[in-house]
Amino acid sequence: MATTAATLDQAIHHAHVDDRSFLRKYVFSTDHKIIGIQFLIMSLLFLALGGLLAMVMRWQLGFPGQAMPGGGVLPETMAPGGVLLPEFYISLVTMHGTFMVFFAIMPLLVGVFANFLIPLKIGAPDMAFPRINMASFWIAVPAGVLMVAGFFVEGGHAGAGWTAYAPLSAMPEMSGVSLGQQFWCVSLVILGLSSILGSMNYIATIINMRAPGMTWFRLPLSIWALFITSILVLLAIPILSGAAIMLLFDQTIGTHFFLPADGGQPLLWQHLFWFFGHPEVYILILPAMGFVSDIIANGSRKPIFGYHSMVFAIVGIGFLGWIVWGHHMFQSGMNPTLGMTFMISTLFIAVPSAIKTFNWLGTMWRGNLQFHVPMLHAIAFVAMFVIGGLSGVFMAATPVDIYIHDTYFIVAHIHYVLFGGSLFAIFGAITFWYPKMFGRLMSPFWGKVHFALTFVFYNLTFWPMHELGLKGHMRRIYDPSEYEFLQPLAPTNRFISIAAFLLFAVQLIFALNFVLSWFFGQKADRNPWKDTGLEWVPPSPAPHGNFDHTPTVYHMPYEFSHPHATEDYVPQNRPLEGQTRPAAAPAGQ
């Protein structure tokens, strides 16, 4: 039955809609799904590059001063004889963070899934502004090219950390880097334009293009999360762009916003950067929380526990994100009285985070748990996000922060949130929505192998970093063996490096599964996970224009295991037992 309908749909679309040229269909496409897939391929390549840079760093930290196997291919300016130079090491530190935050995790969460999911999940044919949407991808491409090009210019790439603290970042004579840092600034301004165009589009689409019956409190949590995230992007990115332009001017045309010798303020950069940077941190986690909510409800075959609390927690985290930036600056020389204020606002983030965690547990409670690959990643997200959230409490407490600030404790914390949290959610989300993107399922067997190995090596890599931090190991240092008090930690560093190499290696399983399933994966029907969302209404892959007729939404998302339903899920476009009309007025009225 389903196959017949799917064939019929495709026939209709081929006959009436899809006569676009190859170039229009797959390259300069205005189809939100193709744009999402373009972002997916680009950001997975950057994820691999960012990971590779981390491996080079881990070599130096585990085996300081030894020639890196294969390091001979690097030029003299980076690693003569395969031994890393300190200036190259700090470029690696800087660019690992930059690529992962701006070119991998952020586009994976927002560029990929906001594009792919929003129209499909709210029952719309496409984005509100499809051409602007296309522009947002093609603006991101030159930004990426420029950011990679920075490695090959004289003086090497930016080396002031992904946070680019001035005056180091603003003074080529102090950092030895001129062009590289300028490429960094220009690239981020261009990428920022892409993000702003994208988020404007997502907001307009969610507000205006919801299908009849899709009221605000019937939106899936992934859409709520992407909506709040888009608002954060729209408000936060211009601050970064402005700051990056100021930094560029300080380096090139003789302004002195951040240069104290001429009356500038080094701390101004930190305030601007973190006023952007902390909302950015939530941009990097909120969508992940949304995907995990969708997947856990599906995998538990239960409605999400406390849907309204989950929505308010997303909004709460989005709001708190604006008033906590000072916690990055407790030891910066900022007025210490502000420390108390920022400590309290920061500690309060624990509240919405706890609400979300316990509601995920509540969703699994008395469920009928299906351990498909997306569910495994979603459970790992909860388990790891808890660790990242709890380790945040240590740094929020200002006295403890005096000691652990700028140590490996913060490195462990950020990776428990961004890898243990966001990246596990991304692996889960890619596996979950892959059939809707490509019409085929990723291999569940290799998906489970990849999950298990990643989970183990991930924890072996990042868990011991807490210990390094507690012993005082500073971050961003090229050679820990310089310090007597760090010498006993050398075996731990070596252990972490080996675990990291293995962690990187097993990602090959995911890469192969991703590419090969595209061609050889098991064909997916419309709704392979038996889910309730509207994205499962059209065939897999969804055709241009998505729906052959606009769906009507009858109820909240996540109607799993309804007592009066015959199956254990009721899609949003199908009335519940005894329900004849949409229970609420259609959206927009």
Binding site: L168, S300, G333, L347, F358, L361, L369, V393, T407, E482
Partner: protein, 224 residues
């Protein structure tokens, strides 16, 4: 995995360590509750063909409990942390009898200026030594922290003390060592390619030792 902090040798270090262990216990409890709950649910509610999930949209009492408990806990943590923060970093925290020392951070070394015999900075008998900070045990020292070029960070792990040095600012930060000996001073803020080797040591003397060292230095300065 060792969650213990290394030995500490300053007056406020035990306060910092105590709040660390309080947080360690609280977060360990939360960690065990959540992870054990997760594992228990994964085993107990694993899917079986004959199982039907319990249909519920939530529970208001549960929501109130898991909102209120973390909220109260973090307020208590804030109340416990505030006074310690003020004691170490507060505007008026520097003890009145603290011995002043000037520390100027510069790529990639620490210039330490001593007040000389008169005990006051900015007088003729000041002298500067590179990468050595000599202080007296059981006596507070106040560091007048400045930076020449870029941001550095003054980090003495054994004293649980860290403070960024910012060009264009003079930041006063104090500590009181509780034991004689030599402790490492590290730069904790990325300051350029030599950041990893921007290190010095803190030598904590008895009062007599310090006077002897001071006399040697003053003599050396005089004969030059």
């Amino acid at each position: 995995m060792d969650w213990m902090l290394p030995p500490a040798f300053s007056t406020f270090a035990p306060d910092i360590d105590r709040i660390y262990y309080v947080i360690l216990v609280l977060t360990a409890i939360a960690f065990v509750i959540v992870e054990a709950g997760l594992i228990w649910f994964v085993i107990k509610y694993r899917g079986r063909p004959d199982r039907k999930a319990y249909y519920t949209h939530g529970n208001a009492t549960a929501e109130i409990v898991w909102t209120a408990v973390p909220a109260v806990t973090v307020v208590v943590l804030g109340i416990m942390s505030g006074p310690i923060w003020n004691k170490v970093k507060g505007r008026d925290s520097v003890p009145a009898d603290a011995m002043p020392v000037g520390v100027r951070a510069q790529q990639f070394e620490w210039h330490v200026t001593y007040p000389g015999a008169d005990g006051a900075l900015g007088s003729a008998d000041d002298f500067t030594v590179r990468n050595q900070l000599h202080v007296v045990v059981n006596r507070p020292t106040v560091v007048m922290l400045t930076a020449e070029d870029v941001i550095h960070s003054f980090f003495v792990p054994a004293f649980r003390l860290k403070q960024d040095a910012v060009p264009g600012m003079e930041i006063r930060v104090w500590f009181e060592p509780t034991q004689t000996g030599r402790f490492e001073l590290a730069c904790a803020e990325l300051c350029g390619l030599g950041h990893y080797r921007m290190k010095a040591f803190v030598e904590v003397h008895t009062q007599e030792d310090y006077q002897r060292w001071l006399a040697e230095q003053t003599q050396a300065a005089a004969t030059q």
